[in-house]
Subunit: 341 residues, 4 copies
């Protein structure tokens, strides 16, 4: 029975508490938040759970085996490092840290203290994303040509991070898991419409060492909600629409066939294949319950999480590079940088 | 009664012939195509129309007052210049020419010969696009924040032009007409998946002199067809979905309100307004019939077309800049907007 | 502070408990279910709540002011009558009872004991349904021509009631509230595909004393989920799609205009008006929380609920008539029957 | 080369003329309409075609081998009988005639004169409908449980026929072809909202000799256009949405499994299977071109059309029965299926 302390009971914290509370292999023992009204709410819902305003108290509490950090991103590093120093296992809300430097230190420290460090890349634990990865791994899609994702809505403006760190982080974590390849360079553009605030609309292109291109469009100021990813391959193509109630994933047996001998300029080099569409049945289990169970199991058995510190680091590196590029209006930023060791 | 000669009876030419044929103020007298089977088809459908394989013959034909050019883009300049020299009015398929240099010469020559030069930016003649322009002009949307367009499908690969010249040209012509502002700089990315062929997927960001950003995503290799434009303003936001049968335009009374005094880091600077959605009734008259009538009227009365040579030139400048940027993976390309004189 | 006892902690009971638990004006004191595992679940979630397997114990418990009945329908009458006899206020899951005879007795008895009797017609407490009623009441739709509803999905087959009693009950309660008129006669058809089981697909037409027609299609065996109501009026028409995330209600400024003097058989008598579409913003507050607060207030202040026993009776009368008609393959069943007194 | 005369150049006639004109095996020689402006339009589009206001002249014209009748339904019988008497092959717009008596006489007479009699049940010639029939024929859907169709929009009010004869005729012809079974009895309801005019909204249930139910909802006064058919089987279920651009047909691997031994009242008798969805590629060839070619081939080779007079008669019988039932508010009308001989 893993005893969990959760820091942060704002927007996402309650979901984490609820899912760990329903787990047979774990128990939430302490919840921490700076706001008394949030603690009161937690206490009302979970009468057996202790509450505290002091995260250090929670971290040092001997009844806590593992610390779940669901605070704004700029507290992640400090709280996670403290917890790791105390020998506690750590699950950190996405993105794992404010910089790749911080993420690298967290990884090192967790390795040294032999504790589990996991990042809450929730989508990786959905059946739809796992099915996409399977399609790629088995070669059903052929060579992967592009990964294109749109994640827009009328959303809460953050003022400590730009929209990439808030929304694109989801797409980057999915892309990292599905493609199993890392981009070599990034070009990003974006704009802040509120003076003094971070960018609220952004576009990010990723280049790879193969003929593969990635693109992410995120926007806090869209009139409609869109959550759609296109994954194009040489053999098949996938549309993942997370707002679809049942058919979230559609696999299209469509593509091109290269015709090597065109006779003249009016003829086309490329032929088309269009075939059936197929929507595999997707298990609709809440991703966070799968993820909570996975964390508890890694802690209990000492395993490496699917979304370990390294995956958190890879995503943060992309966010850093994209932010750097965005400031310079699309300047190409290379990712061929040595990992901090 | 304007007498029309149409060069090119391939994909788009038949639509032009049909719309001019149904016009009371015009008559199609000659159709030209290099392919006998296309001419046979035209002859079967329009028994009274002469056909020829020779575009020069058509251009010089005294029974032709105006020449409509619906050939691949690399013939536009040569054919249009010849027609203008002969004193013929000209309607050119989009994009107007293969380069801004060519477009500038066409504009100059048409001015010198006092003939009408019009480019077939078809979407400008749709009710939906005109309604969007009205919303902008009247200030109903407030300050314009972004213009975001997606135009993707499993489409014919061109091998003489990249996907921007084939598809983004539509979005650029719409944006030019709706925003009535020109971008100051462009950053574009893209990829060719067939070796030796032009880019089949592309992303293009446009920066303006105001806090406005434009973005276009075009793709010949998408499993689904999307034709959707988001137009975000400080007061209202618009979704233009050209695949909707009836409600192509939706106006959302949504936006943000800046809240100047946040107390602490957990509070948000920006508030939200969400209100009703409204879909104005859109006239579904075929755009090409409106456009054909407009061309005939400009010819008859000597007016300047809405989509004149200058609008064609502005679009081509953006396509050139984007292609230049795309080759260098997003390098910012400034738009030197001095017209060649 | 109203003290609530909830009988039945199966599918719907947990929602009732949760919403009463979050109410400031009420407190859930006892939960009853026959299944120990359901009681264990309730106890785990609400440590302060007593649990019992005996509904009579709950009803007689002096710490219970009001009884909420969320059992299968054939227990409603017995439990409600017992509670009313004990002077307890009662909220009954829909449909209010298994027969109009039972519903009438419940209404009488509640009046005699001066307790509140309310039926859980949940949809009546949604903003979308209330907005529809407002449109009707204000005359914005003109004369109401038809009410057409489809409620289908791959759903749980009940074996104690047919699909009308399970699904059409929602539509009938909405229709009753929105139209504020009762049908004069019913014709229904349907079929049972599992031998010995009740009808799993049904169609029900309602005739009124005015030129208004109602129709409901319900189906437990549909491959897709549909929740859509069309409300046609002489001035405007409404589409209520409960599966839409944000724009649940769309008001179309469309209709017909009668043209009294057609000249010949080829001319049409009826003209069309098509105008804008408008989607009013709908508050997305959970209906059950509004309903729970309304029940608590009726109990506290002695008011008559919007969904009182009479509305429950009217709906049950329609279900009885439709079931009777369905057995005889659409035979018209009149509703001009004296209320049991 | 079959020479075709077309009577009626209003709404549907031009489509028939166009499709026969593009056929290699046929030629349109004469077009007839009472309205000079319609004939002028036909003459402008097809300079080689003769025009006449007199249908008898067209029918007797020796340059006409086959007569296509696209007039209002009350002229079908008279014109078709005249053409058959003259030994001309006949293709009649749907419905084949105003009564089953007329249809029977047409069938008899065509048999006697050995000419082809075909009814224009256009949907039967679409790939989607043919694919549905194949699924039924091959047993892929298992036992067929229900056929449910909705065909509504803001449509032209007819004043010579009710909405069933105008719209349900499509669904009945599709159902006849797909199910290959005829209903045993009909119950229909409906209403006319314009005094003195025929019913503009109607619902029609069909009972079969097996546990199969059919239902059709048609409406001329709906704010939205819907063209959707559900076909439920014991093994799989199909949704045919004719407004979908590409995936018109979706096959759901969903259904029920009967569980014979429920222990108590809370347990369910019926289990569920939910699996993948599959959208077979549908050829989008215009149905009318397939149909025109089929008619020409039947004429040339003396074959029996897929949509022969008998299929027209079966559909008219259902329309008659439904209209009879509708007048009496759902009274069950049995179908006496002995063919008039």
């Amino acid at each position: 029975m893993i005893r969990i302390g959760v820091i942060g009971y704002g927007y996402w914290g309650p979901n984490l508490v609820r899912n760990f509370a329903e787990l047979a292999s774990a128990r939430v023992t302490v919840v921490c938040d700076r706001r008394p009204e949030r603690l009161a709410l937690a206490a009302r819902r979970y009468p057996g759970v202790r509450t505290t305003k002091d995260p250090v108290e929670l971290i040092k509490d001997p009844s806590v085996d593992a610390v779940v950090i669901a605070t704004p991103v700029f507290h992640h590093f400090e709280l996670a490092m403290l917890a790791i120093h105390e020998g506690k296992h750590v699950l950190v809300e996405k993105p794992i840290a404010s910089s790749s430097e911080q993420a690298s230190q967290m990884i090192e420290e967790a390795a040294r203290r032999r504790v589990v460090l996991m990042v809450d890349h929730t989508f990786v634990y959905t059946s739809a994303v796992r099915a996409m990865r399977d399609l790629v791994t088995k070669g059903d899609l052929g060579d992967i040509y592009y990964y294109d994702s749109v994640r827009i809505n009328l959303g809460l403006f953050q003022h400590d991070v730009n929209v990439l760190w808030d929304l694109a982080v989801h797409d980057l974590s999915i892309m990292d898991y599905v493609l199993q390849k890392q981009p070599a360079a990034v070009s990003a553009t974006g704009l802040a419409h509120v003076p003094g605030e971070p960018e609220n609309i952004a576009y990010m292109t990723m280049f790879f060492d193969s003929p593969l291109i990635g693109h992410i469009h995120v926007n806090w100021l869209a009139p409609v909600k869109v959550r759609r990813t296109l994954l194009g391959g040489s053999r098949r193509m996938v549309v993942f629409d997370d707002l679809e109630a049942s058919e979230k994933l559609r696999v299209y047996d469509k593509g091109i066939s290269v015709n090597p001998s065109p006779e003249n300029v009016y003829q086309l080099l490329v032929g088309y294949r269009t075939g059936d569409m197929w929507a595999p049945q997707i298990d609709l289990t809440e991703a966070l319950s799968v993820e909570a169970a996975h964390f508890a199991e890694c802690v209990a058995r000492g395993g490496t999480p699917i979304t370990d510190g390294e995956s958190g680091l890879r995503v943060v590196r992309l966010l850093e590079a994209a932010t750097e590029s965005m400031v310079e209006r699309g300047r190409l930023v290379s990712l061929n940088r040595a990992v901090v060791t």
